[in-house]
Amino acid sequence: MSEPMIDVRAVSKRYKRGGETLTVLDQLDLQIEPGGFYALMGPSGSGKSTLLNLIGGLDHADGGQVIVDGEDVGRLTGSDLSQWRADTIGFVFQGFNLIPVLTAQENIELPLSLAPISRARRRKNAAYALELVGMSDRATHRPQQLSGGQEQRVAIARAIATDPKVILADEPTGDLDRDSADAVLTLMRRLNEEFQKTILMVTHDPLAAARADKIIQLDKGRLQGIQENSA
């Protein structure tokens, strides 16, 4: 077996809320294979989003280690962490989180502006990412001129524009209707198969989870099990 792409070792995370300490993740161990497409499921408050944030380096664990692509994320700070995130991780959110004042093309160029590449290259990469998600004809549209499904596809294009190894998706289909959700999931499947992206996708939706290779079940901050999708 090869090295895991994501290696979560005995990770704990607690929040203080009104004097009470809430344990969100409790000594969690989890390995994600490179090139795998994982769905992360569990009831509300089970720690799914927290886990995603820890892996993406948006948050720091109280105990344990998170190793992504051989890098101990907890050791990175400041601009090193930002740079690492820009290189390694692509985020896709439930609320799409496009910047409303920028066009689709400009939204995708934004993370590319962190890479040491020329303006022309940036343009080309962004255009390619747009093409990949089938949104080339909407390049100059602002987010509010797009439908939810279209917005999410632009958001995915932004996530892959820097060619990251890992895509972290937090309920990417949560705000979408069935057809749009299908299109987004098909796109993610393709990114996984054609481009070997490792994908970790938080979802409530069993139909969405069914499109992943493996389903991770989480409850009360503990791993309940990983099952393989036969389909």
Partner: protein, 386 residues
């Protein structure tokens, strides 16, 4: 990133415009206040170094005997000496105020090489006793030209029947330095002397004597000699350099510069607070975007500069507009304040100062929100309402 900053400013056009507007107003006000002071001081800064002024040591309002002239002329190092009398009259109304002086006509242009003839000739002024020479500013303001007769009512030197002193314009001058403003009327000392003698029966005295020293003469020794000559009366004199002479009129304004500084501080405080406020609002509304930027891998440092950039951009635009307003309005302001602040002028250094202040306000106002934003926790930021 700058494009994003620009777009975000444009997203709230009213807010951006209001902030730009208050910045423009502040810069305009600041320039005006600074210019009032620099205008006052211009006469001191540009004062001639060859001219020495001899006035009564007792009072601004005490004149000196005409007999002093020949005694001063005899002092070593004195190239020439001229008489200078404040006339204090007015044209038609008391509110039509400008300075008039009775002078020795030939010496006027010798002592003040900064006076250039714009219209008419020196010779026609020097040659005829009932003529005068006026500044370009007066000519423009009242539409006077060479050949016109200007009737001046004597305020300090009234004619018995309150009739006017009539001076024919022989020439119009332009002043190339702040030492003489271009709203002054000069007429013949002889005219003044003879007229007053016939009205009062006694010859009038001289307000001030002006000495031009020879280039190699030591001014301090000339001043000491002249002051010493009249130590025992009948009128003690005080000889000063032109800069000191002009300074006494500036210091008459008393606490004005401090007062203006107080106002300027008030203006700056108000504007800094306003801009900080705007930037805090902008930062608050962009909390969610900050979360996205951070999730995309932007470093705290970049977010910091991004917000600082927004503040500086706003202030730079506002400051630029303010400077443009100053540029456009200063001729009008100069005209309306001509009697209180003759020669009102906005210096290049004032533009530069106000421009720098605008940028500094942007930096100061941007630092707090920029620092706050850059230290936002990205998880919380993403959770914030859009």
């Amino acid at each position: 990133m700058m494009r994003l900053a620009w777009r975000n400013l444009r997203k709230h056009p009213v807010r951006a415009l209001l902030t730009i507007g208050s910045m423009a107003v502040a810069v305009f006000l600041l320039c005006t206040l600074i210019s009032l002071i620099t205008t006052l001081e211009a006469g001191v800064k540009q004062a001639g170094t060859r001219r020495l002024w001899i006035q009564s040591a007792v009072s601004l309002f005490v004149d000196l005997p005409t007999s002093y002239e020949s005694k001063i002329q005899a002092v070593d190092g004195v190239a020439r000496v001229a008489k200078w009398q404040w006339f204090g009259g007015y044209y038609q109304e008391r509110s039509n105020f400008f300075a008039q002086f009775a002078v020795d006509p030939a010496k006027l242009f010798e002592l003040w090489p900064e006076l250039e003839i714009a219209n008419g000739t020196k010779e026609s002024f020097v040659g005829r006793r009932d003529t005068c020479v006026i500044g370009q500013g007066l000519a423009d303001e009242y539409g006077w030209k060479v050949g016109d007769v200007i009737p001046i009512i004597g305020g300090l030197f009234a004619k018995p029947d309150e009739s006017s002193w009539d001076f024919e314009v022989a020439a119009v001058y332009r002043s190339t330095k702040a030492t003489v403003d271009d709203r002054t009327l000069f007429f013949h000392w002889e005219n003044f002397y003879e007229t007053m003698k016939s009205i009062t029966g006694t010859p009038p005295n001289v307000g001030v004597f002006i000495v031009e020293r020879t280039p190699e003469a030591e001014p301090t020794s000339i001043m000491a000699t002249i002051d010493g000559m009249f130590e025992n009366g009948p009128q003690r004199v005080q000889t000063t350099t032109e800069a000191e002479f002009n300074l006494q009129f500036v210091s008459m304004i008393g606490n004005l510069p401090r007062f203006i500084a107080f106002i300027g501080a008030g203006v700056l405080i108000a504007i800094v607070l306003a801009t900080v406020n705007t930037m805090l609002m902008a930062a608050r509304e962009q909390t969610h975007e900050i979360g996205i930027l951070k999730a995309l891998g932007f470093a705290d440092r970049s977010v910091f500069w991004y917000f600082l950039g927004q503040a500086v951009l706003l202030c730079a635009i506002g400051g630029g507009i303010g400077l443009a307003i100053v540029q456009v309005t200063s001729p009008g302001l100069a005209a309306s304040m001509a009697s209180a602040f003759p020669g009102y002028k906005v210096l290049a250094s004032t533009y530069a100062t106000a421009g720098l202040v605008a940028l500094a306000v942007g930096l100061v106002a941007g630092v707090i929100p920029a620092w706050q934003s850059s230290h936002l926790n990205s998880v919380n930021a993403l959770r914030a309402e859009n």
